[in-house]
Structures are given as C-alpha cells and as structure tokens.
Amino acid sequence: MSPAAPEGSSRAALRDPVLAPTVLLLWAAVSLFVLYPVTRLLVLTFWDGGPTLAPVVELVSSWQHRRALGNSLLLAALVGGIGTALGFAFALLAVRARLPRGVGGALDAVVLLPLISPPFTAAIALIFALGPKGLISYHVFGIASLNIYGLGGTLLSETLTYFPIAYLTLKGVLGNIDPNLEDGAFSLGARRGRVFRTVTVPLAAPGLANSFLLLSAASLADFATPLILGGTKFPVLPTQAFLQITGLYDMRGGAALSFLLLVPALAVFIAQRWWTERRSVVTVTGKSGAATSIKSLSPGAVALLALVCAVTVLLVLTFYALIVVASMVRALGADNSLSSAHYAHVFSGGLKAIRDTLVIAAICMPLGGLFAVVLGFVVARTRFPGRRALEFAAMINYALPGTIVGIAYLVAFNDPPLALTGTAFILVICYVFRYSLAGTRATTALLAQIDPSLEEASASLGARRDVTFRRVVLPLIRPALLAGMTVLFIRAMTAISATIFLVSLSWSLVTVRILEGITNLELGQASAFSVLVILLVYAAVLLASLAMRWLNAGNLGQAGTLLGG
C-alpha cells in the first residue's frame, strides 16, 4: 500500500528545492564525462565531413582486424565457460561440502588475490613458470618447446584472473537455494546425481548464465593480458586499438576498432543485466527455517571438486610466489642470487609513480564515494523524469571496456577548451565515472533493506531532503560508502586499460610502470612493483574489512563481484 518512493509523482520531485539541483548536477556531470566522450568517439568513427561507414568497412575488410574480432569473441566465450565451470566447482565446495572453518576462509583469501592484483600479474607469472626458460616447463619438466604466447597462455592467464568473479557470484546463488528444495527431491525418491541435475543446477542456472556473461565481459575488456601474452599471433580488439593509436597514431582507426569492440561488449552487458533481473524469480523461496545439511554431493564428487580446487589454488599460489621471488632475485631463471636492486629502483625511480597513484587514489575515494552514494540514493529513492536514463547513462563507462573509455577520453579531452589529458584531473574523473558503480550498487542494495519510512519520519519532523540525507541516510549507508571507496582505491591502484591513454610525464601510474618494466624486459622490476601494489591493496582490503566489522555490516563480498571488468 505504501509505494517505495516518498512523494510519489515525478512532477512533484522537480519542485523539490534540493532534489532538482542535485539531479541537474548529476546529469551535467554524466553528460560531460560519459555521454560527451562516447559521442565524440562515435562521431569520429562515423562522420568525416558527412556520415560515413568507411572506417568500419575498412576495418572489417582487413583480415588482421577481422581476426582480432574473432579472437576476442572466441576468448571471451572460452574464458566465460571455463571460468564459470571453475568458479562453480569452488562455490560448490565452499557452500556445499561443509569445509572446516579455516579452510573456507583460506579459500576466500586465495581467491581474492587475482581480483585485487594489478594487471599483468598472472601474465608475468605465467612467463616465469611456463615461458621459454620457464621454471616449471623447462627446469622441472625440461620442455623447451612450450609456447605460452597465443590463445593458450592468454586463456589460462585470464581464466585464473577472472574465475573468482564466478566463484563469488555463484557462492551467493548456491547459498540462497533453499536446502529444503533438495530435501524435497530426496524425499520423493531421487538419488544424489538426479537431485543435483534436476534441482541444484536448474536453480543455479540463472547464476551460471550471469557469471558466464560477467566473465565474458571481463575478458572482452581485458587489455593487459593479451598485450603481454597474445603477441602478434593472437591479436584481440583492445590491444589492436591500443597499437593503432600509440603505434600508428591513427586515432580514427582506433576509434573504429573501439566501436567494433563496443558492440559485443554492450550486448554482453545488456544480456547480463537481463539475466540478473530474472534471477529474482529463483530466490523467491527465501531463507529456510531449519538449515539442513546438503546431501546432493557424494563423497567422491567432493573429492573430485577438492582436487580441482586444490590444483587451481596451488597454481595461483605458485604464480604469486614466483612474483615475490622474482622481485627479490637478480633475474629469475637466469641469475637466482638475492638482490634488493628491484626494490631499490621502485623506491627511487619508481617513487613518483607510487606517489602519483596514491594521490589520485586519495582524491578519487571521497569524490567517487560521494558520487556513488548520491547517485544510488537518487536513483533508488526518488522519482523524477529521466531517472532510468540517468541510471543507465551513469553505467556506460563501467559497461564499456576500458580501452574504449580511454580512447573516447583521448578523443574528447585532448584539445582545448577541454585539454585535460595528462592531468591528474582527467585520471580522477576517469576512475570516478568508471568505478563508482560498485558503491552505487552497494547503496541501492542497502537502501532496499532500509524502510523508506525512516526518511519520511525525518521529513515529517521538519527536515528538508538534504538534511535527511546527511543526518539519516548517510549514516545508514556508511558500509556502502566504504565498499565504494575501497573498490575505487583498488581500481586506482590496479587499472590500466583506460588510463594508459591518459597518463603523461607529469602524472604517471604504478600500473604503467609495470607495463614499461615488462616491455623493457625488466621483469624483476615489474614484479617488485606488483608485489608492492598487492601489499597496498591487501592492506586496504583488510582495513576496510575491519571497518566493516566495526560498522557491523558483513563483508565486502558483494563489492568483490564488481572488481572484475
């Protein structure tokens, strides 16, 4: 009987002395930093003195670019499928196998590693482990002919990097399935395999589809891994676009390649949204009264899952151990003597990049955090014309692969009057509009649990909407603010795909230094930078978790699923 939003009609909202300016401000910001760049990108692609399809036609007729498109799609499908299967295995083990408490926690900690690592980490480790003189392939097994450059290496690296997204998504889905449903199937005489096939999997199916799409999107957008491991043998769209611009100084070609990538990326994003909205059908049964133990996995199945997960965990741990070791020896594989040279470099020549990154992260966090919660609040709790459109527009930069956003920003903000590329400002803006979505989603999720009557109570006591927001809403959504700011920090420390186009001599980033280390074949240095980033990010996550516990607000789990992409 009581509708969700206070003060029902849209027209009324426009007369609200606080809401109207806020909405205008949000629209202005989103228009300038989301819609305008994308429009400029499309104009550059499709307008050359008049409407033209020439750049796209040219691209599609090029064998190399057609192959890049095919490769991107193939890779996305494979990463989506294999990553989801792996994530499902982990989730089944975590949710259904009644692991000892410590083991479950350790599993989560290990799985979090790839999510919060800077790009290239898995790629570098893969080169160390299985590369031409790989520690595992050559020194352990004596294989010299193994070539990890190409589809195989890229696929392995991306799968290990992104499967945690599937794990976190599916863990939630499996956890929400009422065990009584499985018990019901057992009571009707079904055996384990049948229950699993006819009850568990169908109920998890929307989650599986969602996870497949999330992983595909992440893979489509991934720039760092194929840049290192794809090589010339396995071109994909993001790297091709990057090379077109930085190598050939062909802005229009880069823009056209971006468009080619934009189409599947947007399709996957929209499909994923559609699936997520459908998923609510499944959780209708809600929480069960009595938590019964799960019986649909036989001991044999549990053992098999445990084996798969153990191998994966071992692989991930080995990779990270290799990075740590590589950062501490002169040249891993060639000269394994201990050396502090790499760290010495990080803290001398690399100090500026670290400082710049931290400064930018420090500016991003409050700015993006506030943007995220205000947007989340306005979208969830008010009614005004164009609300859905604003919500969608604000999501575009998140949905698009970073390469596209970077190129669009480069196109839009390279010339006066908005010559912003190379400034700290544009880096901050890029992060804020690309990575605030986590905070926004956390805000809307939290608000869904907070009865609107709290805001109405405040209004009835004489508080204007801004006073209500400051005194009632903001204190209640602090966990969302915190989650949003944590994701922003992690992203500021680890992102590269968009910002690589926007850095300059005056403002550099750690991730860019890592890339330089790799291209200059100074893998030790790159490893040292990576270790530093991982430690910083882990510290931030730990701090945020402690703060969350202090705020009595569960964990960062949901925010975790937003880290990919």
């Binding site: 009987m1 003060e7 009557s453 709290l454 109570a457 009835s460 508080a463």
Partner: protein, 368 residues
C-alpha cells in the same frame, strides 16, 4: 508539555490514483472529511481501502491528483512534508537505528536548530510523559516493541505538531500490549489535545480510542460517525459487516409512519424504529446483532413484546465467556451469541429452539 490548541483538518474531494497497474482503481476517490480541533478521528477499513493513502496525503508524503488538504482553512496541498508541522507515527515506528532514544526524540528539535538546554528540557519532559525516563542513551534495537512505540510517539509529539497522524501504530504489538498501548495513546492524545487522524484495520481498536470513525471502502468514505452510531445504525451492508458481526434479515416494508416502519419478518408484522427509510423498494434488510438474538427452549415463553420463531441449532462454538450458535431459521442461518453459558446452559447441536428478539434491537439497514 502544554496542551496546544488543536487545528482543524479538512479534506475536500481528495482523489489519488496510482500509476502502477497492480494498484488497480483509484486508491482514494473523492474523499471529503473534517476533523475538528482536538478530535481523534479514525480511518477504518480493510487493507487496500485507501485509508493509509489518505493519511499519507494529509502528511504530504503523497500528493493528491485532485482535491485539497486544509489545515485551519489554509490550503497545504502543495506544501512539502517538512513544512506541514505534523507528527507521524509509523506502523514500524521508523526509529533511526543509528541514533539513541534521546537523539531520536531530539531529531525534530535539532532540525529546528533549538538550543541544547531547550532540547534537553523538552526531550526529558516528553520521555517522562510516555513513561520512558532513563532510556535516553539506549538504542532502538535495545528496546521492546512497546518501548519503541513510546519513543516513536514521543518523537512525534515533542515538536508540538498541529496534527498527529498514526498509521496502524499498534499492529506490530502482541494482543495484550495492544490494548494497554491504545489506552495510553488515547489518554496522551486527550491530554495534549492535538487533532489526530488514526489509521487502523482493527474495528475494536477504532471503537476503543476514537471520537469518530470514518469507515472506508474501495477508496471512499462509506460512513462517518461515533462508534455507537456505526454499530447501531450501519448505513450499508459493508459497514454493518465490518463493524462487529451481524445478521442481515431479508424483510419487506409494509407501511411507513414517522419514526418507524412496519415490516414483514418471519411471517409476522413488526414495527421497528426508522427515522428515514431509504428508497429502493419494499425489499429491505434488517440489521440484527448476534448478541440481540435470544435462544429459548422449545415451549418456554418469550419476554413480553419480543418476536419469536422456531429454529434448529446447527452449530455451536463454546468460547468460555460466551457461546456462539448457528441456528437455522426459515432455511437461512442465523448467528446467535449467548453470554454467561455456565449460568444459562447450552443448547445441543441439532436441537429445536425458539429464537427471539426485541423489535427495538432490529434496525432497517440504511435508516439512520
């Protein structure tokens, strides 16, 4: 807390339709009501009848599509909630979980930027008034349902609002506490003299606390009156059935004379009080409350002036203080309630009885 001059609230042809399809027809259709200064008026009706929407329109949470809301004859229809000077008590209390009891109650005063000593003094006074002194530093989740309810009331009245609005405030309490709290609310409202609109679906609660009750049905006000009026002379089948339980006996009007009507019931002529007989032909319904139905053993003589008819007991429910019988009369079933069964004894199911009632307790439906 001083007693404030209550405001007069007037709704003039207020209508509201929700855009969303599942809300169906108009939530509130052409509602006009006046609440006198200091009066407690209850909006009573089943869920979905528009009572909460009406209350939210008064508060300013919803804007009516048409019609006006006037407080002391001033049109506030377009006024934002926070400028209306209302106190609203929510069904779920809506206490701010991050604030202490003191800060919850002080919220409205802080919004007005009152000085600290004033805030402390007024919060202290109102907490004493609701019987919660010493609770200042607790948080809402450390309170029982009844205590939360009291804090919600304290928070609403501390700002000395011109209108006090209650949205099913007792529905989350257990039955015993509900009775106790409604007495407290009633006492507090009388003491403060604040004009009050109270929404509930519980007719007993409405009868217990209201000066007047407006029964709502499908977005419209079906009837307004005191509890006594509504029970004695319901204006429609809906009101008759919603307020208390009722037997509706089909009858035929034979003659009408000033103040009374003669009808045919159970094959005899009865004269019943009727100030105004509604139009709509001679076929009418007679309202007979179950407790007005007397049951006598076959052959026993009925009290003077009562009409009797034969019946067969078809069902019996023993409830301690009373017994409820379903009696078949003329092929229709009649509900009868008999109090103090330990004294009067029980009739067996299937047994023949005499059913009696006094003509004065019969009333023509729709006749005031």
């Amino acid at each position: 807390m001083t007693s404030t001059e209550g405001a007069r609230l007037r709704l003039v042809s207020v209508s509201k339709r929700f855009v969303r399809a599942e809300q169906g027809a108009a939530a509130v259709a052409d509602v006009s009501l006046t609440v006198e200064p200091g009066e407690l008026l209850t909006l009573l009706g089943p869920s979905g009848c528009g009572k909460t929407t009406t209350l939210r329109i008064v508060a300013g949470f919803e804007r009516p599509d048409t019609g006006q809301v006037l407080i002391d004859e001033r049109d506030v229809t377009g006024l934002m909630v926070y400028r209306r000077s209302i106190g609203f008590v929510f069904q779920n209390y809506a206490l701010f979980p991050h604030l202490t009891v003191f800060e919850n109650v002080a919220y409205g005063l802080r919004v007005q930027r009152l000085r600290d000593p004033v805030v402390r003094e007024r919060v202290g006074r109102v907490l004493a008034l609701v019987g919660l002194p010493g609770y200042e530093r607790r948080f809402p989740n450390q309170l029982s349902g009844g205590e939360q309810q009291r804090v919600a009331v304290a928070r609403a009245v501390v700002v000395e609002p011109r209108l006090l609005l209650f949205d099913e405030p007792l529905s989350n309490l257990d039955a015993k506490l509900r009775v106790q709290m409604r007495e407290e609310l009633s006492r507090l409202q009388r003491q403060l003299g604040i004009t009050t609109v109270y929404v509930t679906h519980d007719q007993e609660e409405a009868m217990a606390i209201s000066d007047r009750i407006a029964v709502m049905q499908a977005g419209q006000v079906a009837q307004v009156g005191t509890a006594h009026d509504l029970y004695r002379a319901p204006g429609s089948v809906f009101v008759a059935q919603f307020i208390g339980r009722v037997n509706l006996l089909p009858a035929r009007v034979l003659r009408v004379s000033p103040g009374q009507a003669t009808v045919a019931l159970w094959a005899r002529e009865i004269t019943v009080p009727a100030d105004r007989v509604g139009v709509g032909g001679p076929e009418v319904s007679l309202v007979l409350r179950p407790e007005s139905v007397g049951l006598l053993a076959e052959g026993a003589s009925a009290p003077d002036g009562e009409v009797t008819v034969r019946g067969v007991v078809r069902g019996r429910t023993f409830l301690g203080e009373k017994v409820e019988y379903t009696v078949e009369v003329d092929g229709a079933s009649l509900l009868a309630v008999s109090y103090d069964p330990l004294r009067h004894g029980l009739f067996e199911s299937g047994g023949r009885v005499q059913v009696s009632c006094a003509p004065a307790s019969l009333r023509l439906l729709g006749a005031a």
